[in-house]
Amino acid sequence: MRSLQREPGLLLALLAVIVLVGIFIVYPQVRVIATPGTGYIDFLTGGSWVKATLNSLQVMALSTTSAVILGFVFAYAMVYTPMPWKPFFRLVGILPLLSPPFVVAAAYVILFGPRGLITYGIFGQTISVFGLSGIWGVQTIAFFPFAYQLIADVLSRSDARLEQAARNLGAGPWHVFRTVTLPLSRPGLGAAILTTAIYVLEDFGNPALIGGTFTVLPVLAYGQLSGFGDVQGATAISTLLLALALALYFAKIRLDGGRSFVTVSGRASSMPRPPVPAALTWSCFVACLLLSGLILLVYGSLLVSALTLNFPTNFTFTTKHFEYITSGTNGTALQNTLVFGLAAAAFSAAFAILAGWLVQRVAFRGARVLDLLLIMPAAIPGLFFGIGYATAFNEPWLDWLDRGVLIIIAMIFWNIPVGYQAAVAGLRQIDKSMDEAATSLGASSLRGFRDILLPMLGGSLRVGFVTTFVRAVTTLSVVIFLFTPASTVATIRIYQLVNDLNFGAATAFTVADIGMAIAALSVIAVLARGRVALGAARA
């Protein structure tokens, strides 16, 4: 409460955040839930949700555990060890985030299906990727990068001096890891587990394509919507997903307790981290190499498909798929994807940091509610986020609003959670005395935020930007009810080509989409190099 009354700027910022969250996160959902009908009761009495809920929880537990473990190993290896090939691993670690729906799951089927090129072609096995084990495996690879990004951000900010001190006092590397490193990375770990679990819960594409007869909640919801046109029943499932996410959220709060994770209490330390045993470095290297190999295999197969006539039955080289995707309106789709993604990422990351700071540092009533609302979008399946926008903002008096802008707004708010989580996790590591020093010297809270905290939160900003960007350029579900011919995007085209059984062109489009995204991220990384905080988080 220290300055809300005294600082009109702060009050204004807070009000702006609350109003925006109200209009763009809460209102569309309320509109969807308020759709008239009897769907809720039919759905609850139907009982099909019980099995799907149990399935969802089972998959969530399995995939989250494995994804967070992989993410931690990857992050630890990148931040703590001097292993070689780090730029390569950094790039590969982002690839799974760049997975337009359907195509990547289809690639898994081609490689690991009952007649997969690897499983059957090389090993002669007919084990199937379809079903629970398939979802588990694919989701682990698909979601570990979220955990990796969040954990790496926190690890890179933890103070090396504490570890050096522990080592100097005689603790072994394992002891230091267990009693210093691991506990200090708890905010990041908590955020990683929460985010990964929610994204796994919400995942539709992978279970739909390789779930076999194993049904999870989002698949059930999609069927309700697409098959029965039952918005109510589908919303009931969406609400159930939200409730599950809510439970996770409260569990995380309980686990965190009121503990402090402050590690940045003064000048950033220039002390190097204590050396890691060579054996550990090399085991980390091998683990990262294996994981990267698997990822490259999947994405490599997309490239091969894009350059061959009819993958995987005809491997004749061709450029016709790439010629096709650069013709007609396809170029517009790629251009829109880039523009929408960059705009959404920039605004989303900035908004997330500001909101994170307000919730974490400025005491006001209802901070907990705002905190929850900012995490909620992660638990709303993209389909419902899109439907919410299509319902709430498709009014005659809003027809002047460009659909491209609406899509950008949807992407900003749907992707807030990761950037926001990163900001909160980051702020919890920075001692309050830092910004209080500024305010007691006469600076306003906002100025303290801008000049003191923001430069130290570059890593969190980067996490928010990167995840929003990659999710924006790869989402189908959010845009499917919003796009117009003029505001079509790459994922829509890819979905269309997959349904048209033109897998070659679909993969070519995917390769172009991913290539464009990587190019954009690289340019931004180059532009941002030299900025201290960003550099630190680059591990």
Binding site: F130, N310, N394, I492, Q496
Partner: protein, 364 residues
């Protein structure tokens, strides 16, 4: 100097952010075709019908371009903005959610089951096209809410190599053949929940067993036995074809025209049509609230010309609801295959109930 550089970059990033935002607004608005200029050039040729229509199309990618290109040639005064999404269920949902301010003028493609409910909800504009006189009553809605312009027959795709090795090369001649335990775990089916084809497959079984309550009971018993052999209910019909092309699974009931298209690409698969099969009627309808009614009506009327029928047969291997349009080479004619007595209105009206009955029967 180091500080200066960092500061420079920060300023630069600020500018970059602003430019991106401007590009976002500018890019989106410049990307949209300017209807006024397009319409102006078109009226110069003095065609009777003018206007701009937005078409929600569930047709294939390849069909869209040529089909609407041909329409524009016939009606140069009409500008067509196609929103292509080969998923009729999503288009149906879009039309529903947009009812406060409709963005579509035409909904084309997808079986009539996707159009009929929209008509009942008052979201479609009735129009009995002059050319509809050439179309049999069973292919159109009586009051003109939707008009059927193409037909598709339900067939069976099998992977040649695996069929020969694992099933003894025996293609199913009846749907009951699929209950053989040799098919266990080797069949896939388009999901009855999310695909039109999957539902038509169940409805076909009901009519095959004589319809009514008895037909339903027997069909559910059949679907339950079949479930034991099904490895997956695939969310889209084309997705199921891909799995058979690759030999991931051995066979799948699916659309004959799409199977033929896959075969023509050189995939090691074959089409067979078991007796007592069903078929779809692909529809076109006008969305209520259209501001270009004349142009929308022109498109509906043109879709059921012989010219449009011939073109669609060539592009998609589908049949036409017109009797004077010949089917594609190698493709079955509706009159040559043994069809069940498919009561489309009953199938449409009971769709939700039957699918839910099926879900509880197989435990999904």
């Amino acid at each position: 100097m180091g500080i200066d550089r960092a500061y420079d970059r920060r300023t630069f990033l600020k500018f970059a952010g602003a430019t991106a935002a401007i590009a976002a607004c500018g890019g989106a608005s410049t990307a949209s075709p300017s209807p006024t200029t397009a319409a102006a050039t078109a009226t110069a040729t003095a065609a009777p019908v003018t206007g701009t229509i937005s078409v929600y199309s569930a047709l294939n990618e390849s069909t869209n371009n040529e089909f609407f290109g041909a329409f524009k040639k016939a009606y140069p005064g009409v500008t067509v903005n196609v929103l292509p999404l080969a998923a009729a269920g999503e288009l149906q949902t879009r039309i529903r959610t947009e009812k406060a301010s409709p963005k579509a003028d035409i909904f084309i493609g997808g079986s009539s089951e996707f159009h009929d409910p929209l008509g009942k909800e008052g979201l479609l504009e009735a129009y009995i096209a002059p050319n509809a006189k050439d179309i049999d009553a069973k292919f159109k809605e009586a009051t003109g809410l939707w008009t059927g312009w193409y037909t598709g027959i339900f067939g069976f795709i099998s992977n040649n190599d695996r069929l020969a090795k694992e099933i003894g090369g025996k293609k199913p001649t009846t749907w009951d053949d699929l209950l053989d335990s040799a098919w266990k775990g080797k069949l896939v089916l388009p999901s009855p929940v999310t695909t039109g084809g999957g539902y038509i497959f169940i409805a076909t079984q009901i009519f095959r067993f004589g319809g009514g309550a008895t037909g339903e009971t027997k069909a559910m018993a059949f679907m339950k036995s079949l479930h034991a052999n099904v490895a997956q209910y695939v969310p889209t019909s084309p997705g199921a074809l891909t799995l058979i092309d690759q030999g991931q699974f051995v066979g799948c009931p699916n659309w004959a025209h799409d199977i033929l298209t896959e075969k023509s690409k050189g995939n090691p698969i074959d089409l067979t049509i078991p007796t007592d099969t069903g078929f779809e009627v692909g529809a076109v309808s006008i969305v209520k609230g259209t501001k270009s009614l004349a142009a929308a009506q022109a498109l509906v009327n043109w879709s059921i010309t012989k010219e449009a029928g011939d073109l669609n047969v060539k592009l998609s291997n589908r049949g036409s609801t017109r009797t004077d349009v010949a089917p594609a080479a190698g493709s079955p004619k509706l009159s040559d295959v043994k069809l069940v007595n498919y009561d489309r209105q009953w199938a449409t009206d009971n769709k939700d109930r039957i699918i839910k009955l099926w879900q509880s029967t197989v435990g999904l």
